[in-house]
Amino acid sequence: MTIAETQNKIITEFQYFDDWMDKYNYLIELGMSLPVMDDKFKIKSNLISGCQSRVWLHASYKDGKIRFEADGDAVITKGIISMLIRVFSGQTPDDIINASLDFIDQIGLKEHLSPTRSNGLVSMTKQLKLYALAFKTKNE
């Protein structure tokens, strides 16, 4: 599935929720079911700054694709990361670098996910793209 297709799928899923509580319940569910990250990746260099809670992001590269793993202290934040990973993991560096994130605006969580919130969404997205850029330069 392409990055755009996954985003569309998420948007459709969120259409089933009537109110904010259902949406947050879903985020909490996503956050709680995010696979636990190996402790060896929970290191300072993987920490994303700009979040009110701790978030670690690790990336690996295989056969031209990037795989992301992440973890954090706050469940709602983990729910958001889980969606980002779903969108970006398994994609090529080029696709990640060029992708625009429109699903955030369209799933009705804008007020929570707006860049002025210190939830680190901006830092997380930036970090994901930086990884993509790093792998691209390394392998060219």
Binding site: W20, M21, Y24, N25, I28, Q52, S53, R54, D73, A74, V75, I76, T77, E111, H112, N119
Partner: protein, 407 residues
């Protein structure tokens, strides 16, 4: 006479707001309080009717503005019962006041090897300026530890005092926990050793009657915006004898007597510490805030907040898994807490969706958090317009939160 909350709430336009379609429950008063329409009106009136630069104009408006400005100084003197108007200096806020004292006091009184005592529950703004001083002058920062419920360890304090101690600088009330510090005892002990004391009163003045002469402190700092006044204005109280002995902080207009390129002579107190055009509109708003508090009476404000606080503590204690951080008995209306198994940021996020504004995180008091081995807390801080129903809403929202997180 009791406080009529319904009438009070009508004075605060912002409290009528809805957030996410729910009535705003504003419980972040320790960060900043909302402003009554009297304060908003005073600022608007100032710009509509009186605006002009003060202390320098020969013209009518300037005289009016100057008079209002100086009258406010007198009202503030009375509010904290200082001896002399000269001891009241207008600053940008508590942070500014603390920086002025740290910097200027150090120039006159702190040398290599000297020691400065602060406590473990200080706000960063009563830590970092002293760290600057220590670095610049080769002095040492000594820290009074807290006991396990977040109170100052007085025995440890006495042991820290020695013949190199030059100043003691402590908060009157902790912003993170709401603990009231026994500053009067601290001042007495320090004065027995002839050591001056600075009190950071940012979290005290909004909640209780403060009398600087009764306390005996040498310096006292606070911000208008935490006591229903505007942002960008605050007070530095200093005993005349000390303010005379320390150099000015900034140079500029207003603070000088004569200027030549070789030298300048400084103006008298309080102007020596008020370089440049001050925040005159802020002072006008501040006056309205003090009038508002004086009208209600600080004793009544304190009594109302104390009953609300007790109600809130009892209600929150009933929630399974809720842990109150800092269980000292002598506290203002601040409750710092954690929900078992739920990150404070998640709690704050969900409360926000219920229209409840709280603060989450370390509250600019990281050393306090370190003491309790926690990264942060959720802080609900109450003001004179908060209600028992709002406490109930907080409790309901926390119960819903528990449901959402399955615990």
């Amino acid at each position: 006479m009791n406080i009529n909350i319904e009438n009070i709430r009508k004075d605060f336009p912002i409290l009528g707001q809805q957030v996410y379609g729910k009535p705003l429950v504003y419980l972040d008063n320790a960060a900043t309080t909302q402003k009554p329409k009297q304060v908003i009106q005073a600022i608007s009136d100032y710009y509509s009717l009186f605006n002009s630069n003060i202390h320098r104009g020969v013209h009518y408006l300037s005289q009016e503005a100057t008079q209002a400005f100086e009258e406010t100084r007198e009202i503030i003197r009375q509010f904290i019962n200082a001896e002399n108007k000269k001891e009241i200096i207008f600053t940008k806020g508590a942070t500014d006041s603390l920086n002025i004292i740290a910097s200027s006091f150090a120039k006159s009184f702190i040398n290599e090897g000297d020691e400065i005592i602060i406590s473990s529950l200080e706000h960063h703004s009563n830590i970092v300026p002293w760290q600057f001083v220590c670095k610049e002058r080769g002095a040492k920062l000594r820290i009074i530890p807290l006991n396990e419920i977040g109170e100052i360890d007085m025995a440890a304090f006495q042991k820290l005092i020695n013949n190199r101690t030059r100043i003691v600088a402590v908060a009157h009330v902790s912003n993170a926990l709401g603990t009231i510090v026994p500053v009067k005892d601290i001042i007495e002990i320090a004065h027995n050793h002839a050591i001056p004391v600075l009190i950071d009163g940012a979290q005290a003045v909004p909640h209780m009657k403060v009398d600087v002469r009764d306390l005996g402190c040498d310096f006292y700092c606070f911000s208008a915006h935490k006591m229903y006044g505007p942002m960008g204005i605050g007070i530095l109280f200093g005993k005349e004898e000390f303010l005379e002995k320390i150099p000015p902080y900034q140079g500029g207009g207003e603070m000088i007597k004569t200027v030549t390129f070789e030298n300048s002579t400084y103006g008298d107190l309080p102007f020596k510490f008020e370089a440049g055009t001050p925040n005159v509109a802020g002072v006008a708003g501040f006056k309205a805030a003090i009038d508002y508090l004086n009208n209600l009476g600080m004793e009544r404000v304190a009594a109302y907040e104390s009953s609300l606080y007790k109600y809130a503590v009892d209600a929150l204690k009933n929630i399974d898994g809720l842990q109150i951080i800092g269980s000292g008995t002598n506290k203002t209306s601040v409750i710092s807490f954690l929900m078992k198994g739920i990150h404070h940021y998640d709690t704050g996020t969900i409360l926000d969706r219920f229209g409840i504004a709280v603060r989450t995180g370390h509250h600019c008091a990281q050393p306090v958090m370190d003491l309790f081995h926690i990264p942060g807390t959720i802080r609900a801080s109450f003001g004179l317009y908060n209600t028992h129903q709002e406490v109930n809403k907080l409790v309901e929202a926390l119960l819903k939160l528990k449901e959402m997180f399955g615990n």
